[in-house]
């Protein structure tokens, strides 16, 4: 049985208290695995779980990041949460020497079910078949999007149109990214921990590139950055069907969501 690290990014007291703490609680109680958290609220988590060595915390400060990025012009007023900060979820995992699986989830998802033997058997079967990156929508490739995008006379066509302009692909195309999967990013599984370093480096590159631009066209759908990073790292994508029990029964999308307005502090 390989160790599994659940990981998420949790910024702000509201999200950490109402979502992340509940998710950590489920992971600790339903599984024997560890939680690698990246947060600006470490004290809150430590107060809930003092001296728990199954919780790894990478403390970050909002002051060190551009939490929101301007949309459309440097002055705003529209801004978007900088979803690329999620690259930091991987950083503390890089120092773990043993081989492990990673389940990377949004902090407002819940863990409703777990059976160790079933999940491990599923992961090892997938890995033996030659795949090491699991996510919904992994069969959708960047080239599929590009062909559709270029066939329309609409610069805002499709859910990834803004990536073209954010990363200047209109003037500097990157055909080497064409085969990148475009996963739905709320739940990802990595079955090869040795490739995480390359994945992390590419995702950080995207973060730095966008954070250093005067403005963006929006930052949502980071499945693009995740997919390209997985391609660069050499991960082999496997599409998890939306009805697969790992998605429908284990990690439940928005399972803890109570309706917080998006954080703006």
């Amino acid at each position: 049985m390989k160790p599994i690290y659940f990981t998420t990014l949790s910024l702000g007291e509201n999200y950490t208290r109402d979502y992340t703490i509940k998710l950590i609680d489920q992971v600790l109680n339903k599984t024997n695995h560890s939680f690698a958290l990246t947060t600006d609220c470490p004290t809150m988590v430590r107060d809930y779980y003092p001296n728990n060595d199954r919780i790894l915390i990478d403390t970050i400060s909002k002051k060190d990041f551009k939490i929101r990025l301007p949309i459309g012009s440097p002055e705003g007023p529209a801004t978007d949460f900088n979803f690329n900060i999620r690259y930091r979820c991987i950083e503390q995992l890089l120092s773990i020497e043993k081989d492990f699986y990673t389940i990377w989830t949004d902090c407002d998802n819940s863990l409703e079910w777990w059976h160790e033997e079933t999940v491990q058997s599923f992961f090892s079967t997938i890995y033996d078949a030659g795949y090491d990156f699991l996510a919904p929508r992994n069969s959708y490739k960047f080239i599929d999007f590009l062909v559709d995008f270029q066939s329309k006379n609409d610069p805002r066509h499709g859910i990834f149109w803004h990536k073209i302009f954010n990363y200047d692909l209109d003037t500097n195309p990157r055909p080497e990214w064409n085969d990148a999967p475009l996963p739905a990013e709320y739940m990802l599984v990595f079955l090869n921990s040795k490739k995480l370093i390359s994945f992390y480096s590419q995702f950080k590159w995207f973060h730095d590139y966008l954070a250093n631009k005067p403005y963006t066209q929006g930052t949502w759908a980071e499945g693009f950055e995740i997919g390209v990073s997985s391609l660069v790292a050499g991960y082999v994508p496997y599409e998890l069907g939306w009805n697969h029990y790992i998605l429908s029964k284990a990690i439940k999308a928005n399972g803890h969501k109570v309706g917080h307005p998006t954080e703006s502090q």
Partner: protein, 292 residues
């Protein structure tokens, strides 16, 4: 039984026959997910001369015993028979039929996958050296039950130095080693379109050469020109054989393309056509929560 809602009905997997091995493995996969699921023999011994019947050995029925709603996974050659009232299926309670057979031609069938004939063959495939350049035979061979067009093509004596068509039985291991020794594996349609032989040729990493698949469909598509090489079907056996040989000759001149197709086919086998591949595909599409 008190907490049991879902029951897997299928033939026990004692025979090593691949569909029942897949059913057992699928059960092992699911048995801890949706409460106390049990596995029962579907009394296949008493089938009534009709493999399409709901006690036939090719089927796995997953049923909610409270609501009687069910889904069926089938490897039967004529999966469309499951839609026939004569076969005693309670179609009003059916929430899904999963099969590769007839899936393109019948909208009620959800494309799934297909398999090798039995677990001995899969084991032999796992054990053989699939290195492409170790495949020494460049001619064509078809070994199988000879009927219909297979029989007629096999009777064309003047071509016997370049193509062998025969029905002599050999052991499973000999059969796999033989398939593996050929660069290009020929498959001819039989009583069904898709055949275990197709999957076995993919599994040994040779180039699958067969008529284009017209009625079969798969959850992860098996594509002509990508995973296998297709040829046109002609009802005249002599013309059919000439088409096959012309395609074969063209292929032999393009080693890069042969390697591309063979590798794609092998990858497809690993994630779709092997026992575990079938289980992975089925677990991605079954959605048993619909039965609860």
């Amino acid at each position: 039984m008190s907490n049991t809602k879902l029951v897997f009905y299928a033939q026990p997997s004692f025979s090593g026959w691949m569909p029942t091995a897949i059913f057992q493995s699928l059960y092992d996969h699911y048995k801890f997910i949706y409460g106390d699921i049990i596995y029962l023999d579907n009394n296949s011994i008493s089938y009534n001369n009709n493999y399409g019947h709901n006690t036939g050995p090719h089927h796995l029925i997953v049923k909610n015993i409270e609501t009687q709603k069910y889904k069926v996974i089938t490897y039967w050659d004529r999966a469309y028979e499951l839609l026939d009232d004569k076969c005693d299926w309670d179609n009003k309670q059916c929430l899904g039929i999963y099969s590769s057979v007839n899936a393109k031609s019948h909208k009620d069938i959800t494309p799934a996958s297909y398999s090798t004939y039995n677990t001995n063959i899969e084991t032999a495939i796992s054990n053989c050296d699939k290195y492409f350049f170790n495949k020494i035979n460049k001619t064509l061979l078809f070994r199988g039950y000879l009927h219909g067009s297979r029989y007629l093509i096999g009777n064309l004596n003047q071509y016997k130095n370049i193509i062998t068509i025969e029905d002599k039985r050999i052991t499973y291991e000999e059969y796999v080693n033989e398939l593996n020794s050929y660069l290009i594996g020929l498959s001819l349609n039989g009583s069904a379109e898709i055949c275990n032989r197709d999957i076995e040729i993919l599994g040994v990493g040779s180039v699958l050469l067969r008529p284009e698949l017209k009625t079969s469909d798969f959850h992860n598509p098996l594509l002509a020109g990508v995973h296998y090489v297709s040829f046109e079907v002609d009802n005249d056996p002599k013309k059919q054989l000439e088409i096959i040989l012309e395609t074969h000759n063209r292929l032999l001149k393009d080693v890069d393309y042969m390697m591309y197709v063979a590798q794609n086919g092998l990858n497809w086998y690993n994630s779709n056509g092997s026992k575990n591949g079938n289980v992975l595909v089925l677990s991605n599409i079954l959605n048993l929560e619909e039965l609860l």
